[in-house]
Symmetry: C2
Subunit: 325 residues, 2 copies
């Protein structure tokens, strides 16, 4: 398999290379692409040195799968070209996610959607959305979904390397440098991820609303989300209030989640997951499963995953695996 990674030196790109090595895909050729700033440097992978190149015409010829994680502008520029050169593009940016001709895929939920890709492009969903829909799909299969209200606690690595650098700099008291955050994030929480629309929702919140509906194939599902940046390095947490169509007990929900691929369920109340303790793993962790004390058919869940892995790199690699099988 000949695999290309665009954005190979970024937070997600580097995680993609680690995940590819761990999962032992039969990759015998790599094309590593990045900006001119990184071009010429080398990366060791699979016992060989690979040189970073700048993408150019022909870069994707002979490539089977091209994993993109270099931002929306690069994806728009190179996605259609890579597809035209014959690669199947798995794009981690938001550029194509809501395009009706581009499937939006979380393999545990809708792997089959990846097989119908008229533009040759498959979109990898938003990080918080991925972990939430894995839990929601398990609940949906057990009792159906009627409504979702989510509140997120998102780590700084969701804003890329500059997010981690900004937090580290603020913690150490160092000045200068660019921050992707609109306020100080050290010792703070910021209820803004991306720009605001006219109704006051942020870009990240709109992604969670619309991508959840598309992945689940439930275009009318009421979803609301409030997305908050927290001073955590890696790992997103999502509090989800979910109203089901049918009755579902806590034990029923726990059983449905435990039987679902890629999910790890807490053994009991005290065994809840936290981002620090689950970082660097590929699973979606679900704990704090409670029935609403007053409202029927409503459960509350606490869902944690590594945003660089299941929320980005691992999910993209799983899409390749599901197609290459």
């Amino acid at each position: 398999m000949h695999l290309a990674v665009l954005g190979a030196t970024g937070a997600v790109g580097r995680t993609m290379l680690r995940v590819l090595a761990e999962r032992r895909l039969p990759v015998d050729r790599l094309t590593l692409l990045a900006s001119p700033r990184s071009a010429g440097t080398t990366v060791e992978w699979g016992g060989r040195e690979w040189t970073i190149e700048v993408p150019r015409e022909g870069s994707f010829r002979g490539v089977d799968y091209a994993l993109f994680s270099a931002g929306g502008a690069r994806s728009k520029e190179w996605g259609p070209r890579a597809a035209a050169e014959g690669a199947i593009v798995v794009d981690n940016s938001s550029a194509f996610r809501m395009d009706a001709r581009v499937p939006l895929v979380v393999p545990e939920v809708n792997a089959e959607a990846a097989r119908d890709r008229p533009r040759g492009i498959i979109a990898n969903p938003n990080c918080s959305t991925i972990q939430m829909v894995v839990a929601l799909e398990a609940i949906r299969r057990a009792a159906g979904l009627r409504r979702v209200v989510a509140t997120t606690f998102q780590s700084v690595s969701g804003a890329g390397e500059t997010g981690r650098e900004a937090l580290a700099r603020e913690v150490s008291g160092g000045g200068g440098g660019e921050s992707p955050f609109s306020r100080r994030i050290a010792a703070n929480v910021i209820p803004q991820i991306g720009g605001f629309d006219a109704e006051g929702w942020t870009e990240e919140e709109r992604k969670m609303i619309h991508e959840t509906r598309k992945i689940l194939g439930l275009p009318d599902l009421p979803v609301a989300a409030t997305c908050v940046r927290v001073p955590v390095e890696v790992g997103h947490s999502v509090q989800v209030a979910v109203e089901t169509e049918g009755e579902l007990s806590v034990d029923g929900a726990r059983a449905a989640l435990a039987a679902f691929p890629g999910v790890r369920v807490s053994a009991g109340a005290e065994d809840f997951p936290t981002p620090l303790e689950t970082a660097d793993t590929d699973e979606v962790y679900v704990g704090r499963i409670r029935r609403d004390p007053h409202v029927p058919r409503t459960l509350h869940l606490w869902v944690v995953a590594d945003n660089l892995r299941k929320g980005a790199a691992t999910n993209a690699v799983q899409i390749v695996e599901s197609l290459a099988r």
Copy 2:
């Protein structure tokens, strides 16, 4: 006015003394009480030195108001005795909050309740609850309340001085010392505040549910809360999804909140409050006011306040002010 403070050396007790000085209550005599560990040390207040004493029989004789913030056990021990000695007790612990003969008071919401206190004790509510009910009462007066779903982001100072010390120690890499948290809190979030009940709800979540209903005088209001500790020093943030009885536009909600005492409303979407930026102030800050994209009569709010001030010390002092007026 002769005022006593039990727990005068703790995080909230010291804030009470600061707030008392700022608000210029006519206090001419202080009785400062704490554990034997602090007894004999002195505190400067109002241009005089006051010596910390251990509470004993007679400590509250001649005292007009006794502010308690020394934990539930001390409150249970000394609350009824202080009342018997003639003091009006304003207790910051959870010991008496759900006692039907003890009013639970947030002056902006139910100041009049403080006048009916058969046990001579008035309870100061839970920190997150105080800031949430201030916002909820403004909404209630405009459109009624039908349901509340809250998710909190609570600072470590909510666990007292040992909470701040634990975070500082973890951030600096220092070992040893006791932590009030069940997991590492630095660079992490912990969805547990207090112990779990059989249904998986924590003590803090139960407080938010039951205290909100009692303060608002709405014993059947459906309230759900998920309470999460975050690595912030001071200041709690609460995401609230609130279903109203009547229609309420974003502008209507903003107007109702802006006209409500003690509330500051964001000027627009970008002007949201954060805990770091609002610490050391007495107001409740409300921003990110949005209508649910799909569910009628439902608003989402982001509510921030200093948990040591409005969430504890300031609210207690305001109770005294409302009675002394």
